[in-house]
Every structure is written in C-alpha cells, then in structure tokens.
Amino acid sequence: MDGPVGGIAGGPVSALVQRRLTSQNLNDLIEGAPDVVAVVGDEHRLSLTSRFRAVPSDEHRRLDAWMVEQAGRPPGPFVWSPATARRLLASNALRRRGQVDSLLDAVRDEVAEQLLRAAKGYARAGSLGHWLAGVPHPVLGLITAEAVNWATQCLECVEGIASPWRIASSDVYYDVARARTTLRGRRDVVVETPAGRVIVRIRSGQPGKSAGPGLRADLMVETLAHPEGVAPRRYLGLWPDAGLVLGVDGSMENVRAGARDFLRAAVVQRRLRLAGPPSPGRESDEVRGLVA
C-alpha cells in the first residue's frame, strides 16, 4: 500500500491516455487497464480530513470535478433545463431498457413517474419532479427529445464494450468527516472486469485543458467512496461530440493529484467568498502550504 493522501506533496502524475472514441479503442483501454490499483486506508482519510479542516467554511461546501476544472470558481445557481435534466432522465431510462420496447418509451415512463411523484406530493421543491410538474407540454416534449438523445448517445458509446457493464445507479458522493465538505464524483457506466472495475463518464462538448484534473478528481471520489477504498482500474472520460476518450489509471499518484486539486478548489472558493479574486502569487503560497 502506498502512503497517505497528501503525505507526499509533489510526486509524478500518471499520464493521461487519449484515443479516438471507437469500440475497439474502448475495449483496448478497458482490457489494458493496470491490474494493480491504489487502496485508500484510514490514515489517508484522516489526512484528507485534516487538510480540508484547515480550509474552514461557513457553510457546507460541495465540490466536484467541474469546480476543479473551473479552478475553484463556484458555478452559478443551478437551474433545471432540458439540457440539465437529460442525463438523469436518460440514465434512469437506460436502466428501464429491458422492460420497455424503446428508449423513447423508457424516457416517457421515467418522465411520467417523476410527474406522478410530484402529483402525490413526494417531490420536494427544487427537485426534477417538482420542476417537470410545472413546465408546459411542449417543453416536456423537448425534455423528452433531449433525454432520448442522451440515452441513445450513451448506448452508442458503450454497447460495443465486450466486458459486462451496467448503468451506474447514481453519482458517487463522499462526505469528508468533520470538515463540512461533500465531494461528488460523476459516473455513468460501471464496467466489471475480472481484475476490477473500470468507470466510464460521458460528457458533451470537447475536453479542455483541465479534462485530466477533472478525471482525477472523479477517480479520487470514486476511490474514497468504495467500501474498501479500492480505486477503479481506470477512469475513462468519453466526449462523443469530439469523438475522443481520455483515461487516467487508478494509481495512488492520480488519487493524490485528485485530492490536491480538490483542496485547491476549496481554497480558491474560500478566498473568493472572503476577499474577492486572489492575486496569483498569494494563492499559490497558501495552496502550497495546505497541500504540502
């Protein structure tokens, strides 16, 4: 087993693998993933907790790979829209796939269930069901179209995978104890191989320069949230619009890099909340102190 998270300040980061998004390449990346992966123990978790506790927060903070990619800048207020609703609806619809004839029917069933939940009073304010209950009929149609698109795209990406796979039941969350911090990792498909799991995440658009740190952040949360702290063999990010797949191995270096990026995001968030935009030099000094 490797040292604790944050126990080594620097350290090399495993290379980001990049391929064209084809079934052949995807299978190669899954089959060729390293068998030896990081295992996170109690000392790692304690170390991470102490780092996050050193960055106090007035309110409970939620961090995810998107914030890491945006260099800690908090996102604007979340608003439901056809684009933000499609992934949740599509994932649920894909899990229903065996029960209904088509993806369109599966999405419609999912929308109907959300509406039913809202009608029975089970949907809390701000939830998807609550929002869907208030939108006009044509917008529901567009939401359905978006969700069918996303579900079809997911299926096109992963149905060529040779190993057994399943749609992830939800994103993965890890609550950093006594640090008022919740980390969220995004995942769409879990591929089970004899040597361990490979996680697939699907995003729209094209990967930017921070795609690697984003994947490492998701890898880190996935590892911490695992009951035994075992990292996936590889974390793959699929960008179907660009026809690209990027991947990071489940090594301890990558898990550590993910932890460091989350801490940076927390520090930047705190400074933005307290004193406005930071000067680059000051920020890097404080970040270095915290993550070292």
């Binding site: 029917d105 044509p138 917008v139 795209q153």
Partner: protein
C-alpha cells in the same frame, strides 16, 4: 462518382399520389448497404491536418477559425436573406418543431408550441428579443410562415421506428492543427447505429431555404463530420427543404468525403488568404 438522388415532394397542391416520406427514402434498399467502413476516418483527418499545417505553417492561433455548415453553404456569397433575424427565428422555430415531431409530440399549434419549447430551453436567447420587437403584422407573417413549414414537414417526415434510434440536433466538434481550426456541426436528425456490420447511419438536414448549390456542400460536410466524430462512415446524407418540399439524398462514399475535405480546405484558404499573403510578402 456518387449518384445524387433527387426526390421532389408536391407541397403546393394536393395530389392523388402519396408524397414520398423522408423515413422511406432513408431506409432505401436494405440489401444494397455496404459494409461498415471504419478505416477511412483516419485518412480524412490526416488530409485535413495536412492542409491546416500548410495554411498555418505550424503556428498556433490565439482563437480558432470556426467552420460550420453555414460557412460552406454560403460559400462565395456576401448577403443571404436567410441571415436576417426573422429568418433566423423562423429557422429556430421550425427546427424546434421538428425535434418535437421526431419525439412524437402532438403539436396543437406549431408556432406557439415551438416558441414555448424554445423559450423553455433558452429563456434568454436573443431571438426572443427579436420576436418581442416585431409588430403585429410581422408576427402574424412569421406565425403563418412557421405553420406552413411545419405542416410541410409533418407531411414528409413519416414514422421513425424506435429501432432506428432517431436523435435530433446531434452536435460534433473537431479541433485541427492543435486548436487552430474548429470544425463544428449540428445535424437535425441522425438515425441508425454505428455498431452494426453494415453501414447504417443516415443524416438529415432540415432547411427553411430552397435547395441550391450550397446544399450539396452542407450534405457532404455533415457526412464528413459524422465520420470524424464516430470514425465510421455513414450510409447516406440528406437535406430536406421545408420551403419547397424537396429532399436530396445521396449515399456516402470515399469520393464524397474527399470532396467534403476539399470544401473545408477551400473555406480555410478563403478565410486565411490575408494571413498567407502577409507571410509571403517581403
């Protein structure tokens, strides 16, 4: 040489002959579908990269040159009436209505339903500002126009079985020369799967303008972008005009894709001519 199939659908008068529908044209003859081509994409990408390298000589640009289907469709033209704000609003509303039709949503009023759906997706879009500044007559004209286009589409669209996996407004983005050139594309309708042993994917562009010489370039561009996106050559590419009811459809082959590469190269040459001249000048 790829054979251009031109299908004309009557829309100005009621005919006893049933109009040909898009879904039937896309289906074509199943027994004549070629094997899936998943090797051509690399060559096309290399040809594009070579041209970008020749144009920019390896220099990285601060902002990429963005090429879209509109860049090719309007090649050589300086003024296009389709570029007016009202025409743009019409295009957006017809496209939104088309998405609803493919999702098998009943449209009680095509204009109102499309506008409501568009507003739900883009509540702050500039097109909505354009609409609020139109007077009563202009709005009535736009409403009639959108209704006519959508009615034409409804007659022609046919039924897409769920096994065809219809998806609308499919986006594609490809960066070339590092980040010097960005090829961007949105296809109104894509059907079929890239996972089968035979070519199976068909692309449809919906336009509210009459079909002209630029339409063929747009069809080729969609085929090229789909090939670069999935690394699999699509079966056929089509364009349908809701203004005239014409449907052009052609099978995709290597020659068509190479012509699409040449189209992109021509646009790049035209846009970057001043850059090249300044480099050559003493």
């Amino acid at each position: 040489m790829s054979q251009l199939i031109v299908k004309v659908v009557d829309v100005t008068m009621l005919s006893e002959r049933a109009p040909e529908v898009i879904s039937e044209v896309l289906r074509g003859d199943r027994s004549r579908r070629p094997r899936r081509d998943d090797v051509s994409a690399a060559g096309l990408r290399a040809a594009l990269e070579d041209h970008v390298f020749r144009v920019f000589a390896g220099e990285q640009r601060d902002a990429p040159v963005v090429i879209t289907a509109a860049s090719l469709g309007a090649a050589g033209r300086t003024l296009d009436f389709g570029d007016s704000p009202v025409a743009r609003a019409r295009g957006i509303l017809v496209s939104t209505a088309f998405r609803l039709l493919v999702a098998q949503v009943h449209l009680a009023d095509p204009y109102d339903d499309a506008l409501t759906a568009w507003r739900g997706e883009h509540p702050h879009h500039e097109v909505l500002d354009t609409l609020t500044h139109l007077d009563h007559d202009q709005l009535a004209r736009l409403r009639a126009d959108v209704t006519a286009h959508v009615t034409t589409l409804q007659r022609a669209i046919g039924v897409f079985p769920s096994s065809w996996r219809p998806r609308t407004s499919q986006r594609a983005r490809q960066l070339l020369g590092g980040t010097s050139v960005c090829l961007s594309d949105v296809v109104d309708l894509v059907v079929g799967s890239t996972q089968l042993a035979v070519a199976n994917v068909a692309l449809v562009d919906i336009t509210t303008s009459p079909l002209g010489p630029g339409a063929e370039r747009v069809m080729r561009y969609h085929a090229l972008m789909q090939t670069l996106r999935t690394s699999v050559v699509p079966l056929r590419t089509s364009i349908y005009s809701s203004a005239t009811g014409e449907l052009w459809s052609t099978d995709v082959d290597h020659e068509l894709l190479m012509r699409a590469v040449e189209d992109v190269a021509r646009v790049l040459d035209r846009w970057t001519a001043p850059l090249v001249e300044s480099r050559v000048a003493p």
